[in-house]
Amino acid sequence: MDGLAIPLNHVLIVATLLFITGLAGLMFRRNVIFILMALEVMLNSAGLAFVAAGTAWQQADGQVIFMLILAVAAAEVSVGLGLVLQIQRRFRTLDMDRATRLNS
């Protein structure tokens, strides 16, 4: 495969931006749904970096890891949505700042 049109660096920058976007969402959104979405963004940014790296080094590992990330993301979403339901049921809200049971 020759002639990768886009340089690896650019892809990585995009992935970093995506990751920061996700992280920011994680940090600054209060709604659980949005937090989950932010997580997905972060996972996918990592996936993007893997794919790009795999392509750059002509190795299949990047793609394999991306598949794994997809699976993990799916599992995570199912657990996460389950948690969302529970939180909704217990706290009657999806605002994470009001679910402070960890503070004994």
């Binding site: 994470m96 402070t100 049971r101 503070n103 004994s104």
Partner: protein
């Protein structure tokens, strides 16, 4: 017989243990038999042993068992019998038996009959151990033992809190002296490597020279013990209060035996005191000061027993005076005669109190001469001996003391000349003693005239029975003729010089007590009081109150020692040290709260701090590389 000497303290001890174990379940008759009988048996044994001892005259010592054996510290449970111990043992068991006999009637209606005799017998046993001990540690055992028995007996009627306070005072004040004495024991053992009295005195003589500092300190510390036990200045304040106990107890413990233990101790260790002439001089001065202060106090009391208590302090002052001037046998002689007449006086006073429904105030008595004849004659004879009227026992002993004091040439001590005491102290001591003798005669006959003459205020409701009368009669005889015996103490003490005083001095010594009696007769019988212009003035009243309170020494100690101790203890009660530990705890709790605040439970907060931390970590790593 001498082999059975250990039986003497054992008999009363066994009786005491028996009475404690049966806890009052024996019939009263049996209790009396055990209580008085055991002491009587011991007295017989002492008599027999004394007779045998007089033939051999050599000190006899016996070791029952080794008490402790650690390195060269080997005090034994061992007795040392010489003339001095025999004299003391005779007084303790003889007078002791009479007082026990008297008690069987005096205490007849007390519900704690058995406990009383248990304590009394325990006392006799401890006192015997004290005078028979061959080492200072065993002596200390007896010494503390008699202290505890005194405590128990003073507080015998425990339901009255005042008695408890008096008994505690007695124990704690003497304990102060005892602690000094214990330190003396430590010093003597550390320096001389033995506590056995005779070898120790020998070692002291070989190690130290006259006037050295070490024997002076040791003698001072022992003197501290003697002052406490014998109620001398400045530790005398417990004795007047100790009169809270039953009267026979006062007779036995606080007149005849225990309070003279200090005199015995100094006489026993006179070899040590001879090495410390300064201390010896101090003994004489303390004796003189005590006898005068106590005599003035006795003159102004109204409680019959307190008068006798102050008189006891005063008479022991004479013994200390004798010790201080080196008249050892005169001191022991006075100890013996004092035991007779003071026991007699206390027992007679007890009879008065017994027959007058526990009346103690002499001004509520009066006119008892015809109503209680036995008691009157006992009291009269006892007072005569106390006042040292010619040919009574007290006369001989007190006369010896005064003459010895007059003849003392001194002070020859380096310390005394260093502080400028170069004059001859002897005549001053003699004059002070004479003043004391005058006061003694006045206060003792004041008592006689007020209680037994004049109008009657309280009617006696009973007469003393035979168990009270017999001891009184026997003690009367002893008080009269007790001075005619020469005590066989020549082997124990260094020989003292013959008295070479002029007839004038001798005459004055005899005349002074007679003058005192005359004065008492004038003032208290004839009521001719030529001092009334002074005694009734406000200053005079204040002075009398001051004397009556025992020169306000109790008040002084209360404000200087007792109250501060209680105040400090109460101030510390809440354990202030815990404040420090609680401070540590508060620091922990505070920092816990600080840190737990960061644990808000807010997921986003955790996340933000994680990210922040990660950034910091990564930048540190990056910076480091």
């Amino acid at each position: 017989m001498l082999n059975y000497v250990w039986l003497i303290p054992l008999l009363p001890f066994i009786s005491s243990v028996l009475l404690i174990l049966t806890a009052g379940r024996l019939p009263r008759k049996l209790i009396a038999v055990f209580g008085a009988g055991s002491v009587g048996l011991a007295a017989l044994l002492v008599f027999a042993i004394g007779l045998q001892f007089m033939q051999t005259q050599t000190p006899y010592s016996v070791q029952l068992w080794t008490w402790m054996d650690i390195g060269d510290f080997t005090p034994g449970f061992s007795f040392y019998i010489d003339q001095l111990s025999i004299v003391m043992m005779s007084i303790i068991t003889g007078v002791g038996f009479l007082i026990h006999l008297y008690s069987t009637e005096f205490m007849q209606h007390d519900s704690d009959y058995s406990r009383y005799f248990a304590y009394m017998n325990m006392f006799v046993a401890a006192m015997l151990i004290l005078v028979m001990a061959d080492n200072l540690l065993l002596l200390y055992l007896g010494w503390e033992g008699v202290g505890v028995c005194s405590y128990l007996l003073v507080g015998f009627w425990y339901k009255d809190a005042a008695n408890g306070a008096a008994s505690r005072k007695a124990f704690i004040v003497t304990r102060i002296g005892d602690t000094a004495m214990a330190l003396g024991l430590f010093l003597l053992f550390t320096e001389l490597r033995t506590l056995q009295i005779q070898p120790m005195l020998e070692a002291a003589n070989n190690t130290w020279a006259i006037g050295d500092i070490m024997p002076a300190i040791a003698a001072l510390l022992l003197l501290g013990g003697a002052l406490g036990k014998s109620a001398q200045l400045p530790l005398h304040t417990w004795l007047p209060d100790a009169m809270a106990g039953p009267t026979p107890v006062s007779a036995l413990i606080h007149a005849a035996t225990m309070v003279t233990a200090g005199v015995y101790l100094i006489a026993r260790t006179h070899g040590l005191f001879l090495l410390a002439p300064d201390v010896l001089m101090l003994v004489a001065i303390i004796g003189l000061a005590t006898l005068l202060i106590a005599a003035f106090a006795a003159l102004n009391q109204t409680d019959i027993k307190r008068i006798l208590a102050y008189s006891t302090i005063s008479q022991i002052g004479y013994m200390f005076l004798a010790l201080g001037v080196g008249a050892w046998s005169a001191s022991i002689f006075h100890l013996m005669t004092h035991a007779f007449f003071k026991a007699l006086l206390f027992l007679a006073a007890g009879a008065v109190i017994h027959c007058l429904h526990h009346q103690h105030n002499i001004f509520k008595m009066g006119g008892l001469r015809g109503k209680l004849p036995i008691v009157f004659w006992s009291f009269l004879i006892g007072s005569a001996a106390l006042a040292a009227l010619p040919f009574t026992s007290g006369f001989f002993s007190k006369d010896q003391i005064l003459l010895s004091a007059f003849e003392m040439h001194g002070p020859a001590t380096s310390f005394a000349s260093n502080i400028g005491l170069n004059f001859n102290l002897g005549p001053w001591l003699w004059a002070g003693g004479l003043l004391g003798a005058l006061l003694t005669a006045i206060y003792s006959f004041r008592l006689v005239f007020i209680v037994f003459f004049g109008e009657s205020h309280t009617e006696p409701d009973k007469q003393p029975g035979w168990r009270m009368a017999t001891p009184l009669a026997l003690l009367c005889v002893m008080s009269l003729i007790g001075g005619w015996f020469a005590l066989p103490l020549a082997n124990v003490f260094p020989p003292s010089a013959e008295h070479h005083v002029s007839y004038l001095i001798e005459g004055i010594s005899i005349a002074i007590p007679l003058i005192g009696v005359l004065l008492a007769w004038l003032i208290y019988y004839k009521k001719i009081n030529s001092f009334s212009f002074f005694t009734d003035s406000s200053n005079g009243q204040a002075l009398r109150r001051f004397w009556k309170s025992g020169w306000a020494i109790d008040r002084l100690y209360n404000s200087v020692l007792v109250s501060p101790y209680i105040a400090i203890a109460n101030a510390m009660r809440g354990e202030w040290l815990d404040k420090i530990y609680h401070g540590v705890v508060s620091i922990c709790v505070g920092s816990h709260q600080l840190l737990s605040n960061s644990q808000s439970g807010k997921i986003r907060w955790y996340l933000i701090s994680m990210v922040f931390g990660l950034i910091v970590l990564v930048s540190i790593l990056g910076w480091a590389n």
